[in-house]
Every structure is written in structure tokens, then in C-alpha cells.
């Protein structure tokens, strides 16, 4: 005779089929898939912000525009000023080749740079304690009138704001996805509870507590959501993996992949989806049960 052991019985007490169960799996899968991309976007924004900050934060450029016969003199004067300025770790004048390399992405390799009046660029690296930008500008004006200090602030600020906004958007997207998943699973659970009114009635009549009945439903929906989330997380991760690799230009759209242990982060959505399903179903179950005798 088939003996109903408690260990497998509790999983079967709610009829297994039905649209609500399927909807839960699908919702969890689809939302997890989207969440993986939102996470990738968020992490990419974070990396981009870090990269921009590290590239621009501790460096500055001095641009010297002067007649040809004064260019060397003003360059030497600028380097001398920088050498004596506290808070400057190093400074060097960029060679013509380096300047050309900087301009090539903008004008192409065939531009006759020799015919253009290019400014001399001096790159400086800031020491840990920092330097007095205003004081340096005043000294440069006095020693080398054609020198202009560019501390990248006007670049850094909007880039940092853009990166921060992208990060917020990514986190907001994940939160919205989580809320949507919770709402959908609550609806599915409520539909399942309504469809299984007879099951609930019988369980109540034989002495099942609300906690027991709620557990029967939450167990079923949590498992279904976790199953859907596994598929969604794997599909989303595969999708991110298949994106074009980051090229030399460091374009944003080609930098969406995860790095290192970050590839494991999407797996975190599986217990998260299960937890959301658990909470949503439990809430729906107790709300429904309260209305019954």
C-alpha cells in the first residue's frame, strides 16, 4: 500500500498544475533574466566611473600656445615652475608623436600635423597632498603667458554625474524588477488560492492551521520561482557572455560583461527570487485565509 510520508506529501498537497504555477515560473525567469542585464549595466557604470575617475582624477594638462620661437622657452619655464610647485609628483612635456596619437582618433592618421600650429602639452601628475591650482595658474601667467592649466574638472564633473546616474538607474531597474516580480507572484498566488478553495476548505476541516496551509502554498511557489530564476539567471548570464568583448576603444556598450567573480553575481538572483516568492505567497495566503472560517 502507498503510505503517504510527510516528506513528499506536503509537496503534493496543492495540485501541481494550473496557469498560476506556470505564470510564477515564467515571471521569475523573465524578471531574473532582465535583472541580470540591469546588474551588468550597473556594474559597467561602476567600472566606467572608476576608470574615468582614476584616469582623470590625479592628472592635469598644461597647454602652451606660443609663437614657434618662444615655444621652447615657455615650455622650459612651465617645467621649472612645476618642479618648484608643492604637490606636483611629476611633470613632462609630451612629444610630437604623443600629441599626434592623441589627435589621431579625432582627425584621422593622414592629417598633416606638421602644418598645423599645435600647442605643446605638458602632463603633470598630482602628489597625494594635492596642489594649489589657483596659485599655479597665477605663477604660470607670470612665467609663461601662453600656458593654460586644465585640471580636467570640467570633464570629470559631468562624467562622474553620468556614471552615478547610470548606477542609480541600474539599481532602480533591479528594484523595479523585484517589485514587479513580487506583484506578479502575489497575483498568481492569489489566483492559485482562489482556484484551490476546496483544498483549503478540506485542510481547514481536518484541523490544518493557517500556517500549515500557507506553507503548503509558499513551498510550491517558492520552488517554482527558484526554478524559473535558475533558467532566467543562466540565460541572462549567457546573453551577457555573448555580448561583444570590450575593445580597445573601451566603448561603453562593449563593456557590459561581468569580470572575475562578478560572473557569479547573477546566481544571487535565484535565492532573491525565491525569497520574493516566499514573502509574496505567504502574504497572499494569510490574507486569503483570514477571510475563511
Amino acid at each position: 500500500m502507498t503510505t503517504p510520508g510527510p516528506e513528499n506529501f506536503h509537496d503534493r498537497i496543492v495540485p501541481p498544475s494550473g496557469a498560476p504555477a506556470w505564470l510564477t515560473s515564467f515571471t521569475a525567469g523573465a524578471m531574473t533574466f532582465l535583472a541580470v542585464f540591469a546588474l551588468a549595466l550597473s556594474l559597467a557604470a561602476d567600472r566606467l566611473a572608476t576608470r574615468w575617475a582614476s584616469a582623470l582624477d590625479r592628472t592635469a594638462t598644461i597647454r602652451i600656445s606660443a609663437p614657434d620661437d618662444q615655444m621652447d622657452l615657455q615650455t622650459k619655464a612651465v617645467l621649472a615652475v612645476l618642479k618648484e610647485t608643492p604637490g606636483i609628483a611629476s611633470a613632462r612635456a609630451l612629444s610630437v608623436e604623443e600629441t599626434r596619437a592623441l589627435l589621431e582618433p579625432w582627425f584621422g592618421p593622414d592629417l598633416p600635423l606638421a602644418d598645423l600650429p599645435l600647442p605643446q602639452l605638458v602632463e603633470l601628475t598630482e602628489a597625494a597632498q594635492g596642489y594649489d591650482g589657483q596659485g599655479l595658474r597665477l605663477r604660470l601667467t607670470a612665467e609663461a603667458p601662453g600656458a593654460v592649466l586644465d585640471d580636467h574638472l570640467r570633464w570629470r564633473r559631468p562624467l562622474a554625474q553620468a556614471a552615478a546616474t547610470l548606477r542609480v538607474l541600474g539599481v532602480t531597474a533591479i528594484a523595479l524588477i523585484g517589485l514587479t516580480m513580487a506583484a506578479m507572484i502575489t497575483l498568481a498566488a492569489s489566483a492559485a488560492l482562489a482556484a484551490n478553495a476546496q483544498v483549503i476548505k478540506v485542510l481547514r476541516l481536518v484541523g490544518a492551521t493557517d500556517g500549515y496551509i500557507a506553507r503548503a502554498f509558499t513551498r510550491r511557489f517558492t520552488m517554482r520561482a527558484a526554478g524559473g530564476a535558475v533558467v532566467g539567471a543562466l540565460a541572462g548570464t549567457a546573453g551577457v557572455f555573448l555580448l561583444p568583448a570590450q575593445d580597445e576603444a573601451g566603448g561603453f556598450l562593449t563593456g557590459l560583461g561581468f569580470t572575475g567573480a562578478g560572473w557569479l553575481w547573477p546566481l544571487g538572483f535565484i535565492p532573491l527570487a525565491a525569497a520574493i516568492a516566499f514573502a509574496a505567497t505567504r502574504l497572499a495566503a494569510f490574507r486569503t485565509l483570514k477571510g475563511l472560517t
Partner: protein
């Protein structure tokens, strides 16, 4: 055990039962009779807390039913086995699981031997794996009785348990109820089958209650 103190139940503006005062003593056997719609099922539902009295008090095991929270009602129901008129099974689970349901939901062990013995006692030993929709009316009634007694409840309430049975099977079910009463269980059977009541009175000491004009009264010697 179960006591009504001037209890009444109203529904939809009309009073179905009123001024009910009685006590079901431990080990007693009561029949509850009356015409269809007289309130027999309502009375039984008041006995296991599915309905609450709209006036007066109903005491379940010395506790006023309205003072019980939902979990307390559930725990009280574990002490009361109910055979419903329409049996109330989970159609997707086999018969053995349905019969064992009260034990499983209360987290108590379900020894296979005991379950097998119980199903054999009600003559359903060969149908343990059958699904409820495949059972006949009589088989469903006996399965419902098996489920009602599996936890060893103090009280067994049966609502028209022989409604779908022929006379021979009705007698078989009555014999099972009499056996349970001899084991010390308190039995209440709602029925309009007067022959069944007479047959029971020939075997065992019973009280017959009749619902008439919304009130419960002890039936006369004609029963």
C-alpha cells in the same frame, strides 16, 4: 464536551436555530433528525466551529468557541472527526493520503500498518491508491468515516452519512459507528432515515433529537 447555552444562529435576516441548550456528554450517541432544511447541518457546523452562534454560547471542550483564535479552532477540530454529507476529499490525492490527512496536517506519524488496518476496517483495503472521483458513493462515505476516526477524536459528527447508501451498506456504516461508540467516542449522526435510527436503538442506548420550528427537542417514544 460540546455544550450549547441558549445558542441561536441567524443567516440572511432569518433565524435558522434558536434557544438551543444541550450538552453532549462523553460517550453518548445522539441522532439528530428533522426535515430537510431544518438546520441539521447548521447545528453540526456549530459543533465544530465552522459557524459561530449569532446569540448565546457554544462551548467546545469547555472553551467558548468565539474566544478561540483561528489556530485554536484548527486544534479543536483535531479532536472532532467529521463525516460530511459530500465527503470533502482532495481529488488529486489517493485514498490513503486522504484518509491520513488529519494525521499529516498535525505532523503526527502515519504508521502504514495502522492505515492499512483502518482501511480494511471500513472495507477499503484494496482501494488505497484509488483517487476519490473513482469511488462509489458508499466507498466515499466509508472513506470519510475512516478519515474522521484516524486521529482517535473524542467526538464524531456525521452529516447524513448514509445518504448515498443502500440499506445493507447503511447498516454496515451504522455498525462501524456503534463500534466507535462502544470504544468511548461521542457520536452525533444527523439523518432523516428513521429506519436507521430504529435499528441503532435496538443495538445501543441512543438519544434522538429533533429539530422543529428552529428548536431542538428530545424526540418522542415513536422513535
Amino acid at each position: 464536551m460540546i455544550a450549547f447555552e441558549n445558542a441561536a444562529y441567524s443567516y440572511g435576516g432569518g433565524e435558522l436555530l434558536s434557544e438551543i441548550s444541550l450538552r453532549l456528554a462523553p460517550g453518548s450517541f445522539h441522532f439528530l433528525t428533522g426535515p430537510s432544511g431544518s438546520g441539521k447541518s447548521t447545528f453540526l457546523k456549530l459543533c465544530y466551529g465552522e459557524l459561530l452562534p449569532t446569540a448565546g454560547r457554544v462551548m467546545l471542550f469547555d472553551r467558548e468557541v468565539r474566544s478561540l483564535n483561528r489556530d485554536a479552532v484548527a486544534l479543536t477540530r483535531r479532536r472532532i472527526g467529521v463525516v460530511h454529507q459530500d465527503c470533502q476529499f482532495l481529488d488529486h490525492l489517493p485514498l490513503a493520503s486522504n484518509v491520513a490527512l488529519p494525521l499529516l496536517v498535525s505532523g503526527r506519524p502515519t504508521p502504514a500498518r495502522d492505515l492499512s488496518d483502518l482501511l480494511s476496517w471500513v472495507g477499503l483495503g484494496q482501494l488505497a491508491t484509488a483517487l476519490p472521483p473513482s469511488l462509489s458513493g458508499g466507498e466515499r462515505q466509508r472513506a470519510a468515516l475512516a478519515r474522521a476516526v484516524i486521529t482517535g477524536p473524542d467526538v464524531i459528527l456525521a452529516d447524513e452519512p448514509t445518504g448515498n447508501l443502500d440499506w445493507e451498506r447503511s447498516l454496515r456504516l451504522l455498525t462501524l459507528l456503534v463500534e466507535l461508540n462502544r470504544m468511548g467516542k461521542t457520536i452525533v449522526v444527523a439523518t432523516h432515515d428513521l429506519n436507521l435510527i430504529r435499528q441503532a436503538k435496538s443495538q445501543i442506548s441512543t438519544r434522538v433529537l429533533r429539530i422543529s420550528k428552529r428548536r431542538i427537542q428530545l424526540a418522542g417514544a415513536d422513535l
